[in-house]
């Protein structure tokens, strides 16, 4: 691993994860989860797991986000409270 890059990316990861579960707007939460997937794909490429990195970028940041937005279009956007 590349230690400084690893530390910065993991710090951002924790911040984005907490933001994604805290924010009220569900569309914003989904976009934050997509950003989370993209940052963790960077972490994996930097940890020499390139195959896992590009699978996560395609499946995690791409397909899962599309599924979630499609679900949100059929349900409510706002979280209660």
């Amino acid at each position: 691993m590349i230690v400084p890059l690893d530390l910065i990316a993991l710090f951002f990861l924790v911040v984005i994860a907490i933001a994604a579960i805290t924010v009220r707007d569900l569309l914003a939460a989904i976009v934050l989860l997509s950003a989370y997937s993209f940052v963790i794909a960077t972490v994996w490429v930097e940890m020499h797991a390139v195959d896992v990195g590009f699978t996560e970028a395609a499946v995690g940041a791409g397909a899962t986000t599309a599924f979630m937005i499609a679900t949100l279009a059929r349900t409510k956007r706002e979280e209660k409270r």
Partner: protein, 140 residues
């Protein structure tokens, strides 16, 4: 004592951050009432476990890049015609990578099934809040 803290906490920070992410996702799964938030917590929990396993497979010898390389054979394979894999090259362990590659794909399928259930619950009850669903279920 200080040496112990340095060796067990700071030198293995990947595992600690993985545990922090795991508990963040677990909190969202338990405490949030919204079903979409629960699925987002499930995703965060899953990536935390994958981060733990990828950290197990990585090696750090020293220097920029950790002194290791990706588990990709450069040149001809040893059972090819007369060439040998480079000597003295350290690879990250590819076994956790392959296992977690499967876990990512299975996790995407699990998320898709959960989202389908959320759509069905919304059609039935008109809400995706857990307490309102329970309220309507008991009211009927």
């Amino acid at each position: 004592m200080i040496e112990w803290v340095v060796e067990e906490v700071f030198a293995k920070y990947n595992y600690w951050i993985s545990i922090v992410l795991m508990l963040t996702g677990f909190y969202a799964m338990i405490a949030k009432g919204n079903l979409m938030k629960k699925i987002i917590g499930l995703n965060i929990f899953q990536t935390a476990i994958i981060l733990f396993f990828i950290s197990l497979g990585d090696v750090y010898i020293g220097g920029w890049g950790g002194g290791v390389t990706e588990p990709i054979v450069k040149g001809v394979l040893p059972w090819g015609s007369g060439h040998v894999v480079e000597e003295g090259v350290v690879y990250a362990n590819p076994l956790p990578h392959v296992l977690m590659l499967t876990a990512i794909v299975v996790g995407a399928a699990t998320t898709a099934v959960a989202l389908a259930l959320v759509i069905r619950i919304y059609q039935e009850y008109g809400t995706i809040e857990e307490d309102e669903v329970i309220e309507k279920e008991q009211g009927v």
